[in-house]
């Protein structure tokens, strides 16, 4: 034990959460996907052996939760093998999926492999919008898979990403989760990173919409108490204080991208920082010693107004990626914070988008088309970036 407040390297806690982004391949094309815009660049995926090694090393350090994610993790034919190994190592195993690529035989095989939990994402509560947003016809299939998840006694977590195009359907969405008997419901407001950032003009809800949705969410939270836990968080663009992003940089979360890049969060790949690759170093070296993971640990890196702020230990200055996207410097205060000199710019931008939404609703302007998340668009974006 060291005196409170004294941070030394030996105090560094191990990762608790390992997010295994097995692949960026995905049959869906959701325009709010949090994957990097450069998904087309990630062709070299880690092998089964690589993943097994990573899981062993992280587990030995103390990671207790593993999330198999993507892209769509079901695309990997070795998913069952990886789940089995993870379970064998003692992880609580989470599969984060669209349900596309799933059938009853696979749900059973995953259960036999020891999978603990399946989280299925829905795009909306009605077929047309769900299929439009996902860019493919999947709605009935997803509902069928959700029923099977329940039948096989998995805890059921339904995740619905909320944005301007579906927020007004929140009552129908919640009714659907009641019908499917979900144990947990995550009404996850879109966070504006990756694909959702380039579609933000079309996706950000208005304050009015948020206020209406909140009333409905509260009603269902009350009604479903004891049966279903409903989590609803509004987009942080409407807050005055930033989120304690990832509970602190390199504090508990470890993401491994499909190519083996180790990241403190799944958005951090966009930062101009070198991150280690688990093909070259062990998980322990990446976590403890790499400059990337140590970059924003502690408080020394902070600038004003964070540095002298009495809330810095509460929110760690917010999100490094948001600071980078909005100010060009990842060490700046997250502009969500109203102490940030850039906060007004964020407010102005939200106001601009709200005006746009009103004009669209009144058919004064035509809505800009959404940029769907797929390899074709990614290649185009990568090419345009190279041309600049």
């Amino acid at each position: 034990m060291t005196p409170a407040g004294l941070e030394t390297k030996s105090d560094l806690k191990p990762p608790l959460w390992l997010l295994a982004e097995l692949t960026y391949r995905c049959p869906l094309q959701c325009p709010y996907c949090s994957n990097p815009l450069e998904i087309a660049k990630y062709q070299n995926e880690l092998s089964t052996e690589d993943w097994v090694r990573v899981m062993q090393q992280a587990r030995k350090m103390g990671a207790a939760q593993i999330g198999f994610s993507g892209g769509e993790p079901l695309v990997r034919p070795d998913l069952e093998e990886l789940v089995q190994e993870a379970r064998h190592l003692g992880y609580y195993t989470n599969l984060i999926t669209s349900g596309v690529g799933m059938d009853e035989a696979r749900i059973k095989r995953l259960k036999d492999a020891g999978l603990d939990h399946i989280q299925i994402s829905f795009q909306a509560s009605d077929e047309e919008l769900n299929n439009f947003l996902g860019g493919t016809k999947t709605f009935q299939h997803k509902k069928e898979m959700a029923r099977l998840v329940k039948a096989y006694e998995y805890p059921m977590v339904l995740n619905i990403v909320i944005h301007r195009k579906n927020i007004d359907q929140i009552r129908d969405i919640l009714e659907m989760t009641v019908e499917l008997d979900a144990d947990y419901v995550e009404l996850a407001s879109t966070q504006y990173y990756g694909w959702s950032r380039i579609n933000v003009d079309q996706l950000l809800p208005t304050r009015e919409q948020l206020a209406r949705a909140e009333i409905v969410a509260k009603e269902y939270q009350e009604r479903m108490k004891g049966k279903s836990r409903i989590i609803y968080v509004i987009p942080d663009y409407f807050e005055n204080r930033p989120k304690p992003c990832m509970n602190g940089w390199g504090a508990i979360f470890l993401t491994i991208a499909p190519d083996g890049t180790a990241l403190p969060c799944h958005e951090a790949g966009q930062l101009p920082i070198d991150f280690p690759n688990v093909k070259e170093v062990s998980v322990e070296e990446a976590w403890k010693d790499s400059p990337g993971f140590n970059h924003f640990r502690g408080f020394e890196w902070m600038k004003e107004p964070c540095r002298s702020c009495d809330e810095k230990e509460k929110d760690f200055g917010g999100c490094r990626c948001q600071a980078f996207m909005m100010t060009g410097d990842a060490a700046n205060t997250d502009p969500v914070c109203d102490k940030s000199p850039k906060h007004q710019e964020l407010l102005d931008d939200v106001e601009r988008i709200e005006k746009l939404a009103a004009q669209e609703a009144a058919h004064q302007v035509e809505a800009k088309p959404l940029v769907f998340r797929n390899m074709k668009n990614s290649k185009q974006i990568v090419k345009e970036a190279a041309d600049v």
């Binding site: 103390g62 939990h117 006694e153």
Partner: protein
């Protein structure tokens, strides 16, 4: 939740209870979350296996720790564990 001492609790299939070496304690794991248990909570949970009745669990704890008035504490913890859904009665 009214607990009957003849009830036979088991860990609900949607939760997992295990020892975590690095944390040096028993934990309950659930989707994307983990609760670290105190020493006494761990000792109670460890005896819940779908075979032992509440009464057996209390007696076993009293014998193991040479104490004789553990009933209230155990029942109090079990109420929380039933309410949070960690355990359920074996059907």
């Amino acid at each position: 939740m009214n607990i009957n001492k003849a009830d036979i609790p088991e860990i609900a299939p949607t939760f997992r209870f295990q020892w975590e070496e690095v944390q040096d304690c028993y934990v309950v794991l659930y989707p994307e979350g983990m609760v670290k248990l105190s020493g006494s909570a761990g000792e109670i949970m460890k005896r819940i296996n779908g075979e032992h009745s509440v009464d057996t669990i209390i007696k076993d704890l009293e014998t193991t720790f040479s104490e004789n008035k553990l009933e209230d504490d155990v029942i109090k913890f079990l109420e929380v564990a039933y309410d949070t859904g960690w355990i359920r009665n074996k059907k």
